[in-house]
């Protein structure tokens, strides 16, 4: 069967190089397709794109842009994950509120028992809502301070410092007087737990 078709195929194959007796009319073709050909004058679209892509400058630009993009992406990724870590590792926020600074009355140890000046008392307003230590109005006795148990349930014992020992001359007797000034500093630790998710 193949052999029987062969002679047909041979005859038809002659048509592969068939060139009819016609003349090409370039002028007519050019006029009909002038706009399209004018576009080609500046280089074919694919050719221009190919040359552009093939040029080394273009390649280097692409590489540079890619590298910058990678760095920027890496920066954002690491900073983002870092902030997440910070969130996860967040410890309870501890605020130390210097609530009361008490200056204990001056104790004078003068041999003549010179009357002491009235005690200087400085009290800062107390915020009861913050589970803080509220001092009693009699500030000279800090032990009596009304305590509100804070979240840690660990009431702070006021720290008493013997602060300054000052020696001055009595204006009347001209004898040295030692002034002792005791400062009680009470700190409240306020713990703010991070809000649960």
């Amino acid at each position: 069967m193949e052999d029987r078709n062969k002679y047909i195929d041979q005859k038809l194959r002659e048509l592969a190089g068939y060139t009819p007796n016609v003349k090409a009319d370039w002028e007519a073709f050019y006029l009909n397709n002038q706009s399209g050909i004018d576009v080609l004058k500046s280089g074919t679209v694919k050719g221009t794109a190919g040359r552009l892509i093939g040029s080394s400058g273009f390649k280097y630009t692409i590489i540079a842009i890619s590298v910058i993009a990678v760095f920027v992406a890496a920066y954002f990724i690491t900073s983002d994950s870092g902030s997440r870590n910070n969130e996860e590792m967040k410890l309870p926020e501890i605020q130390i509120i210097r609530q009361n600074e008490v200056i204990v009355p001056v104790e004078s140890s003068s041999p003549q028992n010179i009357p002491a000046e009235p005690a200087k008392k400085i009290l800062k307003p107390v915020d009861e809502t913050n589970n803080s230590i509220i001092l009693d109005s009699k500030i000279q006795n800090p032990d009596k301070a009304k305590k509100v148990i804070d979240e840690m349930n660990q009431p702070k014992v006021p720290e008493v410092k013997e602060a300054v020992k000052k020696t001055v001359n009595d204006s009347t007797t001209k004898k040295p007087v030692i002034i002792k000034k005791t400062v009680i500093i009470q700190d409240t630790i306020r713990i703010k737990r991070p809000v649960g998710k």
């Binding site: 038809l12 399209g36 280089g43 679209v45 694919k46």
Partner: protein
């Protein structure tokens, strides 16, 4: 020349157009039914060639590449205007023709072998084939595509391509035999004169 064409130099485009116009026109004629369509599509095909010339990498001949672009353009046109070609009706006519022809097929083969046909006659016979047969015969026999490629290009199965080729050959034989008879009749008429 090709490099100049890639740069879009009009003088180079003109040379290519004038050198290959006739060959490309012949390609279009083989796939189409009439001269008018062939003239339109050869122009369209050349514009496509000039636009796509940048993609020609020098693998194979430039002429072969141009032919492929031209054929693809024609096939795209035929796909687009498929409804204009009533190929089914023609196919059924061709089937009837072939059934009658098969009985005497063996006896006339020798007559066809011994007859010379002009290219115009062969083109006329190919153009007279139903659209599907015309395309498969051209692609397989003349342009040497494989059935797999034909199936892809025409969006048909390989089996369809093979069966259409088989029928197309039979019909070509039938038409060639008609031509033989026609020639004999003319010869006889001339002998009488």
């Amino acid at each position: 020349m090709i490099i100049a064409c890639k740069r879009g130099e009009v003088s180079a485009l003109k040379i290519v157009y004038e050198r290959y116009y006739s060959l490309m026109y012949g390609v279009c004629l083989r796939y189409l039914k009439n001269v008018t369509d062939a003239e339109d599509l050869v122009q369209e095909g050349f514009m496509k060639i000039f636009k796509d010339i940048g993609s020609f990498k020098g693998k194979g001949s430039f002429e072969g590449w141009m032919k492929k672009v031209m054929i693809n353009n024609v096939l795209a046109y035929l796909r687009k205007h498929k409804n204009e070609f009533v190929s089914h009706d023609i196919d059924s006519i061709a089937e009837d023709e072939m059934d009658a022809f098969e009985e005497e097929e063996l006896t006339i083969e020798n007559q066809i072998r011994n007859t010379d046909f002009t290219r115009e006659e062969l083109i006329g016979i190919i153009q007279s084939l139903p659209q599907g047969y015309q395309q498969v015969l051209n692609l397989f026999v003349v342009d040497e595509f494989k059935h797999q490629e034909i199936a892809t290009v025409l969006n048909i199965s390989e089996g369809t391509s093979k069966s259409q080729l088989n029928r197309a050959r039979k019909l070509v034989k039938k038409r060639l035999f008609d031509k033989v008879l026609e020639k004999e009749a003319i010869r006889a008429k001339n002998d009488v004169i």
